[in-house]
């Protein structure tokens, strides 16, 4: 192992706060650290720990250095048990700016810019080519795989080192992704979390997770998506209606039906209307639908292969009888009414927030129509189905009718009418969100004789909460920062880096050298995900195809960014073959090619002479 640590340069101390580092690495490396340009993605638990470390180490602590930190989240109470750069009075403020300010108090020389953009394809105008090209390293401080995969893809594209880490309870890990030396983050993934099939969630739950998934989905549908749809229609009716016509499918039909329901059938004007809505929803979800399901599939029904339909893991449901004397039922109705009232901007009476006689009487006032199950109702049972909306032959016709009805209804609305969509906020114990979700889930669990859960557990599952502690977080960032010294020093071999996995509960501490990237071979060529093939000259598509043919590769599709430049199966693309690649990109694909851009990167799909697909590197065409 190279003596990054474990040796002494024996340099004289310079009476700075960095003397410990200078005596080990020398002042030349210390300067390099101070001038480093780092992009830190995320400013939560890991972010706070990183900022503290970087400030102490002097990384990006000079005018020439720069740390760019971005996070689109704001501070909430439960963050404070780990995110120590934040205080109670910062709740509601953006994480990145508060953290950056606090870090500068540790070391005023820290040159940091705090942004609030989510790092995603949508912000590539902010984090543009110039930004990426200028970086020395990228540090992940994220809490989800999607963002990690995106940043990984950008680092591969721009060939930048990525220092990745994460924690889960008492476990933590640090992983180094170094261009050309190691595999990238996306090269090895944990198997995707098994998601329950749609029909299980919608009709055949057998554990509380299914009920909670369903509950959250209904919450979002009723209280967020539909009001948002309504506002979408009201703000621009002709555009909305045209879009529905163009789509012309079952999903568009469903959406229109729900908008109409909200504005007409179920429209609420008083709080009592909201109670009515909630009580009828209860009846619908936990009684009528169950009655319909068990009518369509009676307890003794058989599948087409002659086996009992309701065999395990399916659980046979029973409808619930509402009673306002049941506290959990009454609670649910009241919480749901309150949120419904919020979406309509209806004031909420004080008695609604306490479970008392007045509340019970209000609920009992609701007239609940009798329900008769119907013949011929279609219920999806196919586990592979990804949509619950069942398409019908005449969706387009039905949509026209619905549009007419919607337009009529909109004329009857008071001027300035709009709805207030509710975004699920799991951590506010006073907002009734978790009451509604837990209520939905537990009532459903009751239907299916599944054990119910308390609000804490419900929040954990429905809120997809990650348990977290400060110790594991601190340790993960310490491990990464040690590797960061090596990255910024440069010149280290793959054996010098360390990936670490630790579990503080056991305790377990395990290290490994990062894995080199997979090498792909073709004839006498070999490459990894980090490589680029370069072609110079303002070449045509045909010349590009011929250049690849010389390597024994038959290219059949060429794309640039999200635009297709050429595909061998489209006859009209043949006309493009003698046009310059750069011109096709600009004119056909409408790509912006600024004057400072000297090359274009194209993705080429190829086959070898045996018709096997070959995954080739990105091809950079230097046309200027």
């Amino acid at each position: 192992m190279a003596a990054m640590f474990g040796g002494i340069v024996g340099q004289e101390p310079e009476n700075t706060r960095y003397d410990a580092q200078i005596s080990v690495f020398g002042s030349k490396l210390q300067n390099k650290l101070e001038q480093a340009k780092i992009f830190m993605v995320g400013s939560g638990a890991l972010g706070c720990e990183f900022l503290k470390n970087l400030a102490l180490m002097g990384i990006s602590c000079s005018q020439n250095g720069k740390l760019t930190v971005t996070d689109d989240d704001v501070i909430e109470k439960s963050n404070l048990s780990r995110q120590f750069l934040f205080r109670d009075w910062n709740i509601g403020q953006p994480k990145s700016t508060v953290a950056a300010t606090a870090a500068m108090a540790i070391n005023p020389k820290l040159h940091v810019e705090a942004l609030q953009n989510r790092a995603s394809p949508e912000t590539e105008n902010v984090f543009n080519d110039a930004f990426w090209e200028n970086l020395d390293a990228v540090v992940n401080a994220l809490d989800n795989v999607t963002a990690r995969m995106y940043i990984d893809s950008r680092c591969v594209y721009f060939q930048k080192p990525l220092l990745e880490s994460g924690t889960l309870g008492a476990k933590c890990n640090a992983q180094m992704v170094i261009p050309h030396l190691t595999e990238n983050y996306g090269a090895s993934r944990d198997p995707p979390e098994k998601q329950a099939p749609m029909c299980t969630v919608h009709s055949f739950p057998h554990n509380i997770d299914h009920c909670l998934t369903w509950a959250r989905s209904e919450f979002e549908g009723l209280l967020e998506k539909t009001p948002t749809e309504v506002n979408g229609f009201l703000s621009n009716p002709s555009v909305y209606v045209a879009a529905a016509r163009t789509a012309g499918d079952a999903q568009a039909r469903d959406q229109l039906e729900r908008v109409i329901e909200c504005l007409h059938g179920d429209k609420c004007e008083t709080f009592q209307d909201c109670i009515t809505w909630a009580r009828l929803k209860f009846e619908d979800y936990f009684s009528n639908r169950v009655k319909q399901l068990t009518y369509t599939f009676p307890e003794d029904s058989m599948t087409s292969s002659g086996a009992p339909f309701w065999s395990a893991p399916k659980r046979f449901p029973r409808p619930l009888e509402f009673s306002s004397t049941d506290p959990s039922q009454l609670n649910f109705i009241l919480a749901a009414s309150i949120l419904r009232a919020e979406t309509f901007g209806i004031p909420i009476p004080d008695w609604a927030k306490t479970r008392n006689k007045v509340a019970a009487e209000a609920v009992d006032k609701v007239i609940v129509p009798e329900f008769q199950p119907k013949q011929g109702v279609k219920i999806v049972t196919d586990e592979k189905a990804t949509s619950i909306s069942s398409a019908s032959v005449d969706d387009a016709g039905v949509i026209e009718e619905l549009i007419t009805k919607l337009e009529q209804i909109s004329k009857t609305l008071p001027p300035g009418f709009h709805m207030n969509p509710i975004q699920f906020e799991k951590d506010d114990d006073t907002n009734f969100h978790m009451d509604v979700i837990a209520g939905f889930a537990n009532m459903r669990a009751r239907n299916y004789s599944i054990p119910e859960v308390d609000k804490l557990k419900a929040k954990f599952i429905a809120g997809r909460i990650i348990p977290a502690i400060a110790t594991a977080t601190a340790m993960a960032t310490g491990l990464v920062c040690l590797e960061l010294y090596k990255v910024l020093a440069g010149g280290h071999k793959v054996e010098d880096y360390r990936n670490t996995f630790a579990n503080l509960a056991i305790p377990l501490f395990s290290i490994a050298e990062p894995v080199p990237p997979k090498t792909i071979k073709h004839k006498d060529l070999s490459w990894t995900v980090w490589d680029r093939w370069t072609v110079t000259g303002n070449i045509t598509l045909r010349e590009l195809l011929e250049w690849l043919k010389e390597k024994g590769l038959n290219a059949y599709s060429i794309s640039c960014g999200t635009s297709l430049l050429y595909n061998s199966m489209f006859p009209r693309h043949k006309e493009r073959l003698d046009r310059k690649v750069a011109d096709v990109a600009r004119e056909v694909a409408k790509m912006e090619v600024p004057s400072y851009r000297r090359h274009l990167d194209v993705v080429v799909a190829c086959e070898d002479d045996d018709d096997n697909d070959v995954d080739i590197p990105l091809v950079s065409v230097y046309f200027r």
Binding site: I8, R17, S81, A105, A470, T473, P507
Partner: protein, 343 residues
């Protein structure tokens, strides 16, 4: 006679019983960690009193972690005046230290630690660690000592063991980019999670610090980490020269090598087991710590203390070593627990 002046804060509202629920404030704040170690462990944490002797980069990381975790109280003992050297690894020392008048390390860090969690009582404990007697240790459940002479550590550890109350003792040292954590939980019983089965009651018996550092080297397993030996050589050297902990430089190397030879001869260990380069590195470091290593050691120590207070999770028995040179984190059990003979 030197009177030991100690400021001790009375518990506000008295200690809670285990039947008392966590407040809404605690539940909201501690939500994410309660999901890791449970409500019961959180309640125990809130009743625990911790003393830290010696404020440096590593112990401040530890303090941050346990204050965030929500211990009952934290007392800091370190009356060294803050200097610019402290800025290299202690993130709580204000950067304009020289402009802020004269304060001790403990005083300089106290207010910021309180800010991390207003529900934890953080206070300065004025006094000299070498005078921490039986009466004093009794106020605490956990004592962490760093940057103290071997004599002081032994004295404190011994006093912890004399009390009938269970007081857990830890020492931690970070030199350059490596470090050592020593754990003495005396007798520790806890529920050990068994994969796919019922949790099992475990009883662990720890060696005292004296026992742990007095094991003849020839009795230790061949693979025992070099750091253990190197730390013992430096300890002995500082003791025999009457040095302050970490008050060494490269110029001490010849004398330290002589110390090494002496100890290796006496205890039948080959000198190659304690590389000269390693001793050089530790001597040159003195008290200097690398911030990332402080975070690693502080994290581990923090979790160890939480495990001991909550009686949940397997504690380290009884040494932990980290070295950034090879990236390894190693546990040693010294003296080795005798292997049970099966009939």
């Amino acid at each position: 006679r030197i009177r030991l002046r100690i400021r001790v804060f009375r518990a506000m509202g008295g200690d809670r019983g285990t039947e008392e629920e966590l407040t809404a404030q605690e539940t909201a704040l501690y939500d994410r960690q309660i999901r890791v170690w449970g409500v019961d462990a959180q309640k125990r944490l809130s009743k625990a009193h911790v003393l830290v002797c010696g404020v440096n980069g590593t112990t401040i990381e530890f303090c941050k972690n346990i204050v965030l975790a929500g211990v009952g109280s934290l007392s800091l003992m370190d009356d060294h005046i803050v200097t610019e050297d402290d800025l290299s690894a202690n993130f709580l020392i204000p950067h304009d230290v020289c402009m802020h008048g004269v304060s001790s390390r403990a005083e300089a860090c106290c207010e910021s630690l309180k800010d991390f969690n207003p529900m934890v009582r953080v206070a300065v404990a004025i006094g000299d660690p070498s005078l921490i007697d039986e009466g004093f240790v009794d106020r605490f459940d956990i004592i962490v000592v760093s940057c103290a002479s071997l004599k002081t550590k032994l004295f404190i550890n011994d006093n912890c063991r004399k009390r009938s109350k269970h007081i857990a003792f830890y020492s931690v040292e970070c030199k350059d980019s490596c470090g050592e954590i020593f754990v003495d939980l005396q007798n520790h019983s806890y529920l050990q999670k068994k994969p796919g089965g019922e949790p099992e009651q475990q009883e662990l018996t720890y060696a005292s610090l004296q026992e742990a550092i007095s094991v003849p080297w020839k009795n230790l397993p061949k693979k025992t980490t070099k750091l253990y030996y190197a730390m013992r050589v430096l300890e002995s050297y500082e003791l025999s020269e009457g040095r302050e902990p970490g008050e060494t430089t490269l110029s001490d190397l010849p004398a330290v090598l002589a110390q090494r030879k002496d100890m290796c001869d006496r205890m039948s260990l080959s000198e190659s087991q304690i590389p000269t380069a390693l001793l050089e590195r530790l001597l040159a470091a003195g008290k200097k710590e690398h911030p990332p290593v402080c975070a690693i050691l502080g994290g581990i120590l923090g979790q160890e203390v939480i495990k001991s207070i909550s009686c949940k999770g397997d504690p380290i028995k009884n040494f932990f070593y980290y070295d950034a040179a090879d990236g390894k984190g190693i546990m040693e059990d010294i003296p080795p627990t005798p292997v049970e003979q099966f009939a």
